[in-house]
Point group: C2
């Protein structure tokens, strides 16, 4: 349903000011004043879809609701400046502790990213809990990082390690705000996004916006310990989990080959950067498997259909 | 629960930049660049609390979700510049038509207020429908209109006619964006807000922020036809409905007495402006009833507790 609705939205005409970016990227962008660009993103999480209320703390819910939005701001290589926190809570006095806990979890993360909670809305209803967050960001340079712009020949790279997020990373990940700012300022990235549904689903989105193809080498994928753990349970290879599991919230970006070489030698942050493939001319996306065989890259990850 | 949570929030320390306004007004404000001020507000509506899905069209849901946010931007006397539309929908293919209808209702209103829908988030879950909207606005002057600033001796005035919104106005009202801009630019308003829970609940909020008291004259209240209709059903006086019914989404504002006099002679817009009372020194809020007797003004309206 969600993909069909997004298709419907893509066909709507919206009159945006010149230089603005609307639906289709990780955040929307508005020109603001003479020199500054404003980006804004919003993401909602809900019980039974994005978390199970009885398996998480309220603080974890609040943290995740903000963190996925900060990850969208990072995907644009922008600085978060303020957040709005909207709560939809079950009726009854017991929701007060739930509300406080969600706020606390969000506020703690907000503080560490210099992104104060400046407003929101609180509602109770005869239903389950959902949390909607909006984050405003500031673009420090002339242009934010977008999904469009990838060039054939670009290296494709990711931050961190991939896969197995469901084992805990999806509740505790650090949005790559600082890394994105440093990468975009120092290494001339051509395109980027965050990995929310898994590379096999997200990379095609970037390629579609950039009108290019891509080739991913499974032998290069940075595989998390959690992906190995998942592999033992599922019987699928660990690289399969790195390629297809959702909610890594790492950065996926492309940059010219020589910039990638320079990045490989000059990157000093603790979060690793790994080249995982190459941008190609527009064509079906390909995967090089462990035996070096080229095969189509299929979107086997989890998508919010 | 919601009031208790707002009290909790009021006690949290949030580090806002100088000149910014956080939780407590109709919208939050951020300084942006040298000269521009950005305001942002968010409001959520949900099935069974703010509408009944089987009694409204999807278009009406989308329209209302945006309109209440535009009313918050009007409450700050700002210009809306863009909206984010987040949908939480029941699982299943039938939600696609619901999603499209909600979008269409919001988009039509967005167009007429020059406030394009620039982003959002779409989610399905095993629950009922809720719609969360965020609107960004631009402050055209040096300061937005705030709840603080009312002065003893100020006239208290409202736009439009009041009461009985539940009979239909809450789905079809026009947010007072243009009126607020014109009022704030030409008549030196000291404080203002929009009426969402009814004057008897909202006026105390303005008075608390401004640290003043107030006196409302029931004989002056502009009473809507719908309030008279409600009165026939409930047996309560029509002025009671004008004072206590929620969701009028009219402007409530204060201004110096001489400005009110000038406004009374110079206001040429079709939406009426009516003086309904006077700001007093800090004290319990008072109501002058139809017999001219002063009595305490009690918060008898509907509040989202």
């Amino acid at each position: 349903m969600e993909q069909a609705f997004l298709q419907f939205l893509a066909n709507q005409t919206t009159s945006l000011a010149a230089g603005s970016v609307g639906i289709g990227d990780d955040a929307a962008m508005l020109s603001w004043g003479a020199e500054q660009k404003l980006v804004v993103c919003t993401d909602l999480i809900s019980d039974e879809t994005d978390f199970l209320l009885h398996e998480v703390t309220p603080q974890q819910i609040g943290r995740k609701a903000l963190a996925i939005n900060l990850s969208d701001i990072a995907a644009m290589a922008c600085e978060p400046v303020g957040a709005l926190l909207t709560l939809l809570l079950p009726q009854g006095e017991s929701s007060l502790d739930l509300a406080k806990g969600i706020y606390e979890g969000a506020a703690e993360l907000a503080e560490s990213y210099g992104c104060p909670i400046i407003g929101g809305d609180t509602n109770s209803w005869p239903g389950k809990v959902a949390v909607s967050v909006t984050v405003l960001g500031r673009c420090p340079g002339p242009q934010p990082l977008l999904r469009q712009g990838a060039q054939p020949g670009d290296a494709i790279a990711v931050t961190g390690k991939l896969g197995g997020s469901i084992l805990g990373h999806h509740l505790s990940f650090e949005p790559r705000v600082r890394e994105a700012l440093e990468l975009h300022q120092n290494f001339h990235l051509n395109a980027g996004m965050d990995i929310s549904d898994g590379i096999s689903i997200d990379l095609p989105r970037l390629c579609q916006q950039s009108r290019v193809g891509a080739e991913i080498d499974a032998r290069l994928l940075p595989i998390s310990d959690a992906a190995h753990q998942r592999s033992e349970k599922t019987g699928k290879p660990a690289w399969w989990h790195a390629l297809n599991d959702g909610e890594d919230f790492e950065l996926l970006f492309t940059l010219p080959a020589e910039q990638m070489d320079r990045l490989a030698t000059q990157w000093t942050e603790s979060v690793p950067i790994t080249k995982i493939g190459t941008v190609r001319e527009a064509s079906p996306l390909m995967l090089i498997d462990l035996e070096g065989t080229r095969q189509p890259l299929l979107p086997e990850g989890f998508s919010h259909q």
